[in-house]
């Protein structure tokens, strides 16, 4: 029998980026927040031995322990889904701060086009541009409405950036100066400018200078140490929950974090949540934490699974297109990337931050004319200087064998003489890409795993083909002596890292029939449940998601405050 604890105002399922933001905002307003986090506690002193590629990047020290819980994966509903037995395509965080601890820190805002994608696509190209099996939807909110929340996230993390010179992209004032530019980034800027594009230095959550935010959190400047992507920052220079929002929440005295507390169900009665059921993983004891509001902040995949396990909301049915929980799952693509080899250069490629990059948006969103193209949307294009790890990076020119003498000598010869120009390809929704509960495999407690049914469709494959030519041209313009590409986008490879930018499954919108959440991230079917993760995205854009996730978390925090002040009710 589970022990019932005293009621709190807000309970958080998971304490990463979204949980941290809700905690800080509502505790500052005087509300009591209990944060339940399945993983261990953390501080920057845990990162003193962090410059270890094998442990952190290959053995996934900071990621979810898959022996306890994982996902099942398949390409389409006709297949049997198989377990994601070891980490590959995406890496899901675990422990205080969540993926917000080992993220790269590239911090963008989705484009005005994204939020009204259906209307704007029809307006410019007509309805026939949208394939019948693509449930493309507006978000129920516009960029202008979200702008103040983007500003809040940028201010809190001290985002380091430079104005995006593209005429169709919003003008943003960044709290701190852009990061320094490496010689390779300069080459990218010059080449892209010569080709008529609009390159700039990517907005980075790895601070260019020391910074104090409105909550009086001071952090020092980034050291470009190169152990950033997949690693925690021992300097606290990379914005993460444990060095920003969590100390603010703690200082109020209104926040209680319980780590090693894994939530198994959202409890509800008569269309309202009463609290959550969780297990203390140290003792194995079960507890019920009653709350006025439940904020589901456990990363998109876990958020959607918890809704399905808790029987909250109507599950999506791919055959009828009805139901909303699991609908519009999307991801991203990286196969438009090209690698350029520079015979006469030697780059300091070991230097980098997770967010050090030159980038351009000329082929992102609807910034280019799609009239004669066989796809919609696009992706950003970037040259990254993320700190080249020696185990992971062994690029060689075309035709080099993958092992033996020739491989060894070539991989060493070229080690600091190549640069990649990549793209983060957007993925549009498809009626056969969705999340559901697996009929066969279970977690350590016997609960069904979440099943991911996903593949790249024609829209995506055509888009990557088009963008690949551009990334190749940029490298040629930069003076590369040889350029290689990974070839056409194939079926989803679950074993190769692509991105941890999973989206959808509990999406926001203006209509309860086609969306799970309103534009305050409040559940249509359960008014005291708020779910501010990337699960809310009706499609995935061509850039990293967390700037937008952060904005939605601030929006949800405001929604929760209103909800509590109003004494309940739907906010729209």
């Amino acid at each position: 029998m589970a022990t019932t604890l005293p009621k709190t105002d807000i309970v958080l399922v998971g304490v990463g980026w979204t949980g941290g933001i809700i905690a800080a905002e509502l505790t500052k307003k005087g509300y009591k927040v209990v944060g339940l986090e399945r993983g261990k506690t953390r501080s920057t002193s845990d990162y003193l031995m962090v410059h270890d590629e094998l442990r952190y990047a290959n053995r996934n020290e900071m990621m979810q322990d898959l022996s306890k819980e994982t996902w099942t994966v398949r390409h389409d509903p006709s297949q049997r889904a198989l377990p994601y037995r070891n980490h590959g395509s995406f890496l899901i965080g675990d422990g205080l701060g969540g993926s917000g601890e080992h993220w790269n820190g590239l911090t963008y805002r989705f484009m005005p086009y994204d939020f009204e994608i259906r209307s704007k696509t029809i307006e410019r190209y007509g309805e026939e541009k949208i394939p019948a099996d693509m449930p493309l939807q507006d978000w129920g909110i516009t960029y202008d409405e979200l702008a103040p929340y983007f500003d809040k996230f940028d201010e809190m993390i001290g985002l380091s950036g430079e104005e995006n010179p593209h005429p169709d992209m919003p003008k943003i004032k960044y709290p701190t100066a852009p990061l320094k530019e490496t010689p390779a980034m300069k080459m990218f800027r010059e080449a892209a400018t010569a080709l008529g594009y609009h390159p700039y230095t990517a907005p980075a959550a790895t601070l260019s200078e020391s910074y104090t935010n409105k909550d009086e959190i001071t952090r020092g400047a980034c050291q470009y140490c190169g152990f950033c992507e997949r690693f925690g920052c021992e300097y606290g220079a990379k914005a993460s929950p444990i060095v920003t929002v969590l100390p603010v929440a703690e200082k109020t005295g209104n926040f209680e974090v319980r780590t090693e507390s894994s939530v198994r169900r959202i409890l509800h009665e008569n269309g309202k949540a009463t609290g959550v059921l969780y297990i203390d993983t140290k003792t194995g004891e079960e507890f019920i934490q009653p709350a006025t509001v439940v904020a589901v902040t456990s990363y998109i995949l876990n958020n959607v699974r918890l809704l399905l396990l808790s029987k909250l909301g109507k599950p999506y049915n791919y055959e009828t297109g009805e139901g909303v929980i699991g609908k519009n799952y999307a991801y991203q693509m990286t196969s438009a990337s090209s690698t350029g080899f520079f015979e006469d250069k030697e780059f300091n490629s070991f230097i980098g931050t997770g967010a050090l990059a030159g980038v351009l948006d000329d082929f992102n969103g609807d910034n280019f004319d799609h009239t004669d193209l066989d796809f919609i949307h696009g992706g950003n294009i970037a040259l990254g200087h993320y700190g080249r790890r020696p185990i992971a990076n062994n690029a060689t020119p075309k035709g080099t064998p993958s092992w033996g003498k020739e491989f060894k000598d070539a991989s060493i010869y070229w080690a600091n003489k190549y640069m990649g120009v990549g793209s983060q390809g957007s993925v549009m929704p498809n009626k056969n890409n969705f999340l559901s509960l697996d009929p066969q495999y279970t977690d350590q407690y016997g609960d069904p795993l979440l099943s991911v049914t996903f593949n790249y469709k024609d829209n995506e494959r055509n888009q990557q083909k088009y963008i690949r030519e551009i990334t190749t041209n940029i490298l040629k313009e930069m003076g590369a002596t040889e350029v290689t590409t990974p070839g056409d986008q194939e079926d989803w490879d679950t074993t190769k890292y692509q991105t941890t930018h999973n989206t959808g499954g509990a999406i926001m919108g203006a209509d309860p029939k086609t969306s799970a959440l309103n534009n305050y991230l409040q559940m249509w079917d359960c008014e005291n449940v708020f779910i501010p993760g990337a699960n809310a995205f009706p499609h995935n854009s061509g850039m990293n998601p967390t700037g937008t996730v952060g904005a939605l978390a601030y929006r949800a925090a405001e929604g929760i405050e209103k909800y509590l002040a109003n004494g309940g009710g739907s906010l729209v």
């Binding site: 053995r59 020696p390 185990i391 060894k408």
Partner: protein, 258 residues
């Protein structure tokens, strides 16, 4: 035994001393059991007071990490030969053996990596149904797959040349590894030869380039070849430098040297 005496013994201790102390003697006697091959091998080579793993030079510290946690000596020799073909010694620098990659793989297999402690190992399994895009889909652990792979290398060597894999000429080893990588040999198991090869190649590169604390990348020799500086606290003042900056590499022990 006093501490001094103990140290003395440790330094003097060699494979032959070990055998003597264990009550086994050489010469004329037929020895049964596991140590036979070692003894025979040693006596066939020049008889020295110290085995190859030990240094005659009293000033050079013994690397206590050079011992086996998982492989049998024969499995070790097989893997050692295979990693050396994947990442051979060349004019550019040391190969997998000199970088102690085979010890790295042995040590990794003995722990979480070999047993897949942080991976989902529950059934049912459908190895035949899973394309490579779905990765590891078998009840076999990495320990099992390495042992199966090693047996495969040796059975192929016997079939083709009537020798053990590690006794073959380089070209013969390359020929067998190429066939294994391409699934051109039979493996009667719930995995494929190419999957074993993929694991072996990845583990070899890990052993070449991981921090020396794991037993490979001897003297940071892998990093030196790539001019990778390892663990450094800051590059903030070099980001904009046009020319390449060569930095003496440093491993994590520098962070822990109290």
């Amino acid at each position: 035994m006093s501490e001094k005496e103990q140290n003395f013994t440790a330094k003097k201790s060699t494979r032959r001393n070990f055998l003597k102390n264990s009550g086994l003697t050489l010469g004329g006697l037929v020895l049964g059991g596991a140590v036979t091959s070692l003894v025979v091998k040693d006596t066939e080579e020049t008889v020295t007071t110290s085995g190859p793993a030990h240094s005659a030079n009293q000033n050079e510290t013994v690397n206590h990490n050079k011992a086996l946690m998982f492989f049998t000596p024969e499995q070790y020799s097989t893997i050692s030969a295979a990693t050396e073909q994947i990442f051979p010694e060349t004019e550019v620098g040391p190969g997998a053996e000199a970088l102690l990659v085979p010890y790295f793989i042995d040590h990794q297999l003995a722990g979480a990596y070999g047993l897949m402690s942080k991976e989902y190992t529950k059934g049912p399994f459908y190895p035949k149904e899973a394309t490579p895009l779905f990765g590891h889909q078998t009840h076999l652990t990495r320990q099992d797959i390495f042992v199966l792979g090693i047996n495969l290398l040796n059975s192929e060597a016997t079939k083709r040349y009537e020798k053990k894999f590690y006794e073959l000429e380089a070209e013969q080893q390359i020929e067998i590894l190429t066939a294994v990588e391409a699934d051109e040999v039979e493996l009667n198991a719930a995995t494929t030869p190419s999957y074993f090869f993929k694991l072996l190649r990845a583990a070899t590169l890990e052993g070449v380039y991981s921090d020396p604390l794991y037993g490979g990348n001897k003297d940071m020799g892998g990093w030196k070849m790539k001019k990778f500086p390892g663990h450094q606290m800051s590059y903030a003042n070099m980001v904009e430098k046009e020319e390449f900056v060569e930095i003496e590499p440093q491993s994590l022990t520098a962070q822990h040297n109290h």
